[in-house]
Symmetry: C2
Subunit: 743 residues, 2 copies
């Protein structure tokens, strides 16, 4: 039985009333919720707990949708490219796509937005109508006009685009609009849990006024008929993250992106956009040569406009729904994980929606920070594993071969260190509660977590924890619009080193902010002591072509010269076109050879770490091709004569270059050592930082309490520096935490 109570949301399950109430008691729950696939019985809703009801507002209206054709959500899809082997080419547009998810929208209204591309040339193919007209014009002026130019028509029977006068061996693709016939979260849950012939839920599109009217009416009815519900938990609002499935089981997942706006498009949305912004978007603004507008790549100005437009629309309608919920005396929380397009929680429109709470499912520490920083009264994290038979990538969880306790412990140990830094009002779980019956050790471990969580939160209630006060700015394309995330969970973004950096920062006693390149132009560097740029050349995290603007490098160089610390990781500031590949090579003292310097000699160097900045056990991913620009960088780590970690002094400041980064307690300590280098200190010399990098600490001055958490599965001993310089010896149990009072 948990020692403390409250701040815990339990997934209840009709048919398992006894279990539900027993676990509520055991875990100290104060709230019970339903989940996708479960319902709550009266016995549960009337047991004296707060009740969350999950609503995904745009789905589960199949009858209405069928009675009102043309009201489903849509997306652009790209068929092909197909290489023309002669002068006529047929492209069946749906061939590549999962027929249960998509259906062609070939209404005249949609066909206005279709495009056929010659991808070999990068030109748009004309329609037969335009072609005929143009050819007639051409033949008036030039009898010897020669071969006809390519033109396309559409055969609705065969759902096929026919290109006539194709250029042989050019590659053609078709950008077209498709209806979404199956809402993708429902589709995923259905397929994952073998829901058989359960109906496929369709997503309706609230861009249409009649859909808005219908949904508001439906919501009002729902509120009336659910008096026990205290919190309406919106799974989030109207448009899902993008997830396109393919027709072939060997390539089912065609494209997925948490931050891509593809699934919000429709002729009406695009027409409305054109009216407000004074220019029209085209299919290519979404299709982007078949690459789509990936969150991991720098956004175009047009994508930014479209995001703003959708956010304003979502906020307007969202506010009407939240107001309605409030009128029924209920609170409205938003679950931020699935369909968050237009619900950017750090965007300028979010606050006016009026949500009372933000719920975020978390695997990692950075997700705690993402949730905690949102401007709502209540913040809740939903822990993993989800109570489903299978988890990530189809791995067994609550079934034979699974070890949900191991999973829960692993995630909690990542999550908890971030809870040292920021308050969090609530935790919870989701899924089928009955699955825990065969895993009593899991039930016990959740009790441990819930007690540890409440202990920790009690500290935050007394006041803020101490911080080094060092202001760290993470510089990337999205800046403060999308802090504390890249796009989705750690296991989805692990290949980007920035997520490792952010995960490290999530538990560090520094003041972390996120800034965009545009912010730099507006003087934002002044608010930071340390700037981190970490990414792959050309991506949204390194920055891409924005580095071709001299003002950016000049501002950062000047800022370092006046004492700033710049940390570049991977391919920071990389952009082709000038003498160096890294545009900040002059302050990094390191550059990368992209091929043109293969005959250039390289500076030799000694590898040394006289100040012991590199902790034992630190291990960075290494890459080739890096070299010293002028031989003056100090090399702290290297492999095969190639520098991996360097320090370069520039004016009053300094920069560090890391060829790669991955999250680990030791690497996190390295990062902290680099961050504190501007103060001329190793991190462990600062107050309330453990000498042992496997232990994270927070000191709460108001309550004179120090908490130390163990990042490892075995017990850890450590010394912790106190402000006077004396040291405290602390033992932290395996995977556990330790609270010291009267410090």
């Amino acid at each position: 039985m948990s020692r403390t109570k409250g701040g815990f949301t339990l997934p209840g399950e009709a048919g398992y009333e006894l279990l539900t109430l027993r676990m509520a008691e055991k875990w100290g729950a104060d709230v019970i919720r339903d989940s996708d696939g479960t319902v709550l019985s009266d016995e549960i809703t009337q047991a004296g707990y707060g009740i969350y009801s999950t609503i995904c507002i745009i789905r589960d209206h199949n009858a209405w949708a069928k009675a009102h054709p043309g009201r489903l959500q849509q997306t652009f899809l790209s068929a092909g490219p197909v290489t023309a082997e002669g002068e006529e080419l047929a492209i069946p547009v749906m061939e590549q796509f999962f027929a249960q998810q998509f259906a062609v929208n070939d209404t005249p209204d949609a066909m206005r937005y279709w495009q056929v591309w010659d991808r070999t040339e990068g030109t748009i193919v004309k329609t037969v109508e335009t072609c005929t007209h143009t050819d007639a014009e051409a033949s008036k002026t030039d009898q010897s006009a020669g071969a006809s130019s390519p033109c396309w028509s559409y055969d609705p029977e065969k759902q096929t685009v026919i290109i006539k006068h194709a250029k042989p061996f050019h590659r053609y693709s078709v950008s077209f609009l498709a209806w979404q016939m199956w809402e993708q979260i429902s589709m995923y849950n259905h397929v994952t849990n073998d829901w058989g012939d359960r109906e496929h839920l369709m997503p309706v599109d609230p861009v249409y006024p009649d859909v808005q009217e219908y949904l508001l009416g439906w919501l009002e009815d729902w509120c009336k008929t659910h008096p026990a519900t205290t919190v309406v938990r919106f799974t989030s609002l109207f448009y899902n993250f993008t997830w396109m499935w393919g027709s072939d089981a060997r390539n089912r997942n065609l494209f997925t992106d948490w931050g891509s706006y593809d699934f919000s498009v429709s002729p009406l949305m695009l027409d409305n956009f054109a009216k407000e912004y004074g220019y029209a978007l085209t299919a290519e603004d979404f299709i982007n040569q078949g690459k789509f507008q990936v969150t991991h790549m720098p956004p175009t100005a047009r994508k930014r406009d479209y995001m703003k437009f959708v956010a304003a629309f979502v906020a307007d309608l969202g506010k009407r729904m939240v107001d309605l919920v409030h009128r029924y005396g209920k609170k409205a929380y938003v679950f931020y994980d699935d369909s968050w397009i237009g619900v950017e929680p750090y965007g300028p429109d979010f606050a006016r929606i009026g949500f009372d709470g933000m719920i975020k499912c978390v695997f990692s520490g950075y997700e705690v920070r993402l949730c905690s920083g949102v401007n709502t009264p209540t913040h809740e994290i939903r822990l993993h594993p989800y109570l489903f038979p299978v988890g990530l990538g189809g791995a067994p969880t609550f079934m034979e071969g699974g070890d949900p306790t191991r999973d829960a412990r692993e995630y909690w140990m990542r999550v908890r260190r971030a809870l040292l830094r920021v308050p969090m009002q609530r935790i919870g779980l989701g899924g089928y509660l009955h699955l825990t019956e065969d895993f009593p050790d899991f039930q016990d471990y959740i009790e441990t977590i819930s007690d540890e969580f409440r202990e920790l939160e009690a500290l935050h209630e007394s006041g803020k924890p101490e911080s080094t006060g060092i202001r760290v700015g993470v510089l990337h394309s999205w800046g403060s619009l999308r802090p504390w995330t890249l796009s989705g969970h750690f296991h989805e973004t692990y290949m980007h080193e920035l997520i490792h950096v952010i995960e490290s920062l999530a538990g560090l006693p520094v003041e972390t902010g996120f800034l965009s390149f545009a912010d730099v132009a507006e003087g934002a560097l002044e608010h930071y002591d340390v700037i981190i740029n970490a990414g792959r050349a050309g991506d949204a995290w390194s920055g891409g072509d924005v580095w071709k603007d001299p003002e950016l490098t000049v501002r950062i160089s000047e800022w370092v010269h006046r004492g700033g610390t710049f940390i570049g990781i991977g391919q920071p500031s990389a952009a082709e076109g000038t003498d160096t590949y890294y545009r900040l090579a002059n302050i990094l003292g390191v550059d990368e050879d992209t091929g043109a310097r293969v005959c250039h000699g390289k500076w030799t160097f000694e590898t040394e770490d006289p100040e012991g900045l590199v902790p034992e056990g630190c291990c960075l991913p290494v890459r080739g091709g890096r070299f010293l620009t002028d031989g003056k960088a100090q090399v702290l780590l290297s492999h095969d004569g190639c520098p991996d970690l360097t320090r370069y002094c520039f004016g009053e400041g300094r920069s560090f270059y890391l060829s790669g980064y991955s999250y680990s307690p030791e690497n996190t300590r390295l990062l902290l050592n680099l961050i504190t280098a501007g103060a001329g200190k190793k991190a462990e010399e600062l107050p309330y930082i453990a000498k042992n990098p496997n232990v994270d600490c927070a000191y709460f001055p108001e309550s004179r309490t120090l908490i130390a958490v163990n990042l490892r599965e075995d017990a850890q001993e450590t010394e912790i520096t106190l402000p006077g310089g004396e040291h405290l010896s602390v033992s932290v149990p395996a995977g556990g935490q330790c609270i010291l009072h009267e410090i």
Copy 2:
């Protein structure tokens, strides 16, 4: 004592007459030569052997050079970039450079060509003179003109460029002309062999008419005074490969490139160029942002023009020298390794110089092919190791710790397989003969080599060897101008996978040609059955931006469709800007993700090799990020779910993609299997190809002789397919060769 005689050039050494004549006998030499650092005594020159005399025509004229200032060779150098920390910046131009190699040329004639660059902006900084003028103009029209623009002046006392009104935190560099005070081969040999206070040889520049006159006079005198010489061996003609040394011992080798034309520039050469081509080259055409015009990168049109111009000049003067040598009854050979700028042996100007022979020093098989294909009556390869105490990278050779026999065997085994394919008239050695005295096993092994060589050449005298007849074209930026090489020796270019491919091709029974992208536009594909494109994105071997021309991909696609075989290795046809990174992804069935497809799903596949195309022991370098475009490629090799070797069928043809390639007998056999795939056969099913990839064969139909050479250090057994289909069993001794008559 060698069993056969002739075709062998021995380096003699005055003071070691007995040794010289003994080794001449042992190795079957018919010619004795001198080397850099050795001379021949009368006793040697009058012993009845042919005599080669080595002449590097542009050096060893120090007295004349000192009496005639301003006649040394020059180059552009780039000082900096240096970041301006304020509004005034001083750049001492020689600081980075080896003062014994270079001296500033700050004569008014040279200063015309100097440039100062703002590398941050990519703009040229004006000189003080231009600036003052412009500022005065500006102030006439606009009183509030604001800050002055940057301008530079030069302080000859301090050899320093001063930039006033610099833009703070911009990076500036100075492109300037420098005299070459020490000819770099002489410098290298001097430093490598500790020649102490021996005079530093200066290179004079024959662009000046008085230098031409002097050198022709000197050569005539030389011919008169060296009656014993039968062959004048030019080391090569007038301009050296580029080798810039730095001031700091930690970075002595700043830049080296066998095919770069930097060391041929001078104000006069540039002025002459401008007169003939109607436009002027600038410092930036050579400096190229400090990257120089690396042979491994695609050449600009201006570089091609300059190469043509220099080649014509070198050929005109070279012909005068060769004619002079001929007038004295001597032959003129050219040594192709050091100073070959303007002496492109496959260039259009080479033949008219009139050389009687081409000598090439070789470590590898491809260098044999390079030498053999040149249009001269005689071809000679100089084997390695060079008779110096130290060899490659300073490793011990003819000294304690060295094993010259091992080295000689390793090189010979690489070289010999190419000698199966093409005739070669002569072999030889170079350096200090006396160093071999302590290495009798080396003396014995050279005897073995010389006999094996003469055996092999006797076969070629009977007629050409059989070939599969398959026509293989290597497609890169240089095409047939620079076949059978990238830029220098294997150990200098091993990081480019194309050299591994070329090394494999050097010994294969196929008809190999080299074609440029321009050749494709002119229909050259018709001459080939197989095309290979192997390189890194953007480099001269993959091709870079040339792939943005749709005509190129269309022609190749069409050619494959009609039955061609395309082999793409590494990043073939790679160029950013369209939907695929490899512009031939449509015929490869494979593409590479450069970041924009990180959220795209990938086709799963089975890895299989049903036809056994991949020999046992085959091992390719592997790379990440490759994926199947449409799932139709057959994957023959893979790692971690990433395809490494694939086959894709397109029309009547097919393509293969290899993520990497390295030379080995097994990988060579894989390559041959891919080349013969168009014939629907594995290589070992074709006549005169050994089943065992460690054995290479050639069959000479005129003499009905088959030779098998062993590529390994242990004895090999193999079956060899004969035209009727029967098999021959052959044993080849360790590292040796085996000749079978009456086949």
